[in-house]
Amino acid sequence: MKKPDPRIIFALVLVLSSFAVIIREDLKLMAGLMLMSILCALAIGVDFRKMFRRLKRLLQLLLVVSILRSIFAPSGTILLESWGIALLTVGGIEMGALVLLRFGLFLTSGAMLTCYPVRMLIQGMVQIKMPYEIAYMISVGVRFIPQLAEELKDSLIALQLRGVVIEDLKLRKKLSLYTYLLLPVVVSSMQNAKELAMSMDMRAFRAYQSRTSFFKLMLCPSDIVILCVISAFAVFMSVVLIMGV
């Protein structure tokens, strides 16, 4: 199956993440939204095994938020108590789950975007009338993140090859080691970014207000249908939220 136009995904991500922010209390609604976004993500071909690995770390967040909420704003049945202070309440767990779902929604939305080649995303942004400079800036910026990680990994390996066993270091030593390593990595990335900017400049980037495009996105009938479904969904959710059904 052909993937929908990236602009459709922009609309979907916009709808999903706005509702993720708007929904404050309603856990059921949030869960429904999450289910919806997981279905969409599956349809687009998001690699969920990778996603779950990231989500695992988020489960700790659920626990922390639940406990904090239970202690400072207890509500609902108390599940765990010590010296008269509620440590875990149903209300707290609900709050934690809400926060977890909200983060999950942002993650799935982001993951849907990463299913597309960068060029398609840029073109999508340009075709919804975003200035092309900004579209390129975002894409080049995003590209530098993995490069930074890569270089940091390289320098860590270089260090290990010299016989430093990083796992054995105390936390404080480890932290200072990372800061020492990070500095040259950031500097070299800045140098690379500068060289890239020079190359783009000499190839006439930003010569004119607008630019032509060799690659163009075209909405096909199925995209229109999907867009209608997304709009209908957004209207439905708004109604549910306002009426409080």
């Binding site: 060029r119 060289e195 630019r211």
Partner: protein, 213 residues
Amino acid sequence: MTAIEVKNLSVSYDGYDVLRNFSLSVGVGEAVLIRGLSGCGKSTLLHAICGLIPDVIEAEYSGEVLIFGTLVKSLSVAERAKQLGIVFQNPETQLFCDSIEDEIAFGLENICIPHDEMAQRIEQMLKLTNMENFRFASPKALSGGQKQRVVLAAVLALDPKVLLLDEALSQLDRRGKDALREQLRLLRNEGRTMLMVDHDDELMSIASRIVNL
């Protein structure tokens, strides 16, 4: 008519002199090879000719650079791209698109070339640099030498009057070097002005004049 006129150029980084009172003039259609040891300021000279020093690269700078009689500083981005094309030394930091096709199209899109002509030029450049089979490949997946060829294709697509090459053969193997040298020879024979920089003598055979830095 001179294509490039460098007059009394001095460049120093933080008080460290790299070029001192350097002058050079390159006539239209000439292919000049600049030779010099590593660190003698070859790349610096090319950066200054493009007007990147002192605007983008900070350095103390005096002297003048004229491109076809106009101060390089006063050229607009579009004009400069039409007159000067440069292949920088490090191919890693000159490619940023998803595919080779995109990479070649990038400059053409910037100067608003219409779609059909773009298609034609992309085709031409892929053929010229022998990268036809890699049209949809990601630049990340290429070898250093292939990257250099892609950068050359992307730069030549804009059809610049003057081609500046900073060690353009450095990462190629023997066969790649021979092939690219022949391409450059053709470009020279077509009358394209070229300024090449190298610490080896590999490009000597296509140079019409050699300058030691």
